[in-house]
Symmetry: C2
Subunit: 215 residues, 2 copies
């Protein structure tokens, strides 16, 4: 059965993006260092256009596993960006250029209906206007029996966590104090989420905490 | 040189106490499970009155190290409790009975001057009304060359972190989502804290992340 897996990098003080996200600062002010641990890895380079080289080791193993057996991706509109407003001009096609690093169908949560956008490398953006459950159902149908990855950002993650729809959560904790921005664990209230630790791995500049999520 | 070391248990969503702390719920509602990982350990039992037995292993090693080379303790008034108000009657002497688990001088941050209280087992509570720097200076003087432990709670930890006075931070992350309460990393603003990871250890029900703190 397809599971919904959330992989996300979080500062020790709980932020997945800095304050004042904008086209100059897609991850908010100070957020540009969130993914320093990932961008130099072999798997990251492969997913982002096949550039040769890159580091291997624990962090690369974790990242490779995160992409393994993923048949579709869900993301929130803030992560996709664009849409009406100052962030971009239509037709905005995301931050990732012509060949996005997903290489699967991607379901974007939005209030604005749009036709699907077929990109290079296997990525097609679908725009879902009828809610998170519908997006998960569509993503599952598209995933062909594989799992679905929730790409973020914070708001989408909170909605799926709060609704009890996430099966597996891996938080990559980086030694950064942002002091402000978007928190992963906010607006959850008394959501009754139970976490069962699966494993802890430590790599250079990041600690990976993996959990099963039960509601 | 005496260093200031903070050891604190935090939920994955960043809380060190649940909401609505009271005499019935010293760690807030839902916070009673924060220290489940610790209370069954051999070292915990020894510090809390010498009760025999208790678990050994990674968690016990971490806890033993946390108490090692500590010559004085600082805590905030919420952690000490009592004082004027509904939480207790004078003279309140803390939550820990006649023989508190500190066995060193303890400096309590407060706005209410009081005479020191000499307890059993080596603990003496001193009440500091002139701020966090003064408390640290007094604690250092009392520690006899050993380190000073910052016991908590959240507000005291935030003040010392924000002032750049903490040298070593170990966060014990437990797989709990509280959804509300007192966050460790709050009210820090743009404090310019730099963290250098020292090590990660995983024990049953808790992951220990240790950092050097630089400002």
């Amino acid at each position: 059965m397809s599971e919904l897996r959330l992989q996300i990098t979080m500062t020790l003080d709980g932020y997945v993006a800095g304050p004042n996200q904008s086209v100059e600062h897609p991850l908010g002010e100070g957020g540009e260092h969130l993914h320093d641990w990932a961008v130099k890895l072999k798997t990251f380079r492969e997913m982002h256009g096949g550039e040769a080289g890159g580091e291997t080791g624990t962090n690369d193993d974790v990242l490779r596993e995160a992409f393994d057996n993923i048949g579709a991706v869900i993301m929130g509109r803030n992560m996709f960006g664009g849409g009406p407003g100052p962030w971009g001009t239509e037709p905005w096609s995301g931050w990732w250029g012509d060949n996005p690093p997903f290489h699967t169908p991607v379901f974007v949560l939005t209030h604005h209906a749009r036709e699907p956008m077929v990109m290079e490398g296997g990525t097609t953006f679908h725009f879902v206007t009828d809610g998170i459950e519908s997006a998960f159902e569509q993503a599952k149908a598209a995933a062909g029996g594989k799992d679905v990855s929730l790409g973020g950002g914070a708001s989408a993650a909170q909605q799926y966590l709060g609704a009890g729809l996430i099966h597996e959560l891996e938080v990559h904790i980086v030694p950064i104090i942002l002091g402000g921005g978007a928190r992963l664990f906010d607006n959850l209230g008394d959501s009754g989420i139970n976490l069962e630790p699966i494993r802890t791995l430590e790599g250079p500049g990041v600690t990976h905490l993996k959990y099963r999520v039960k509601k």
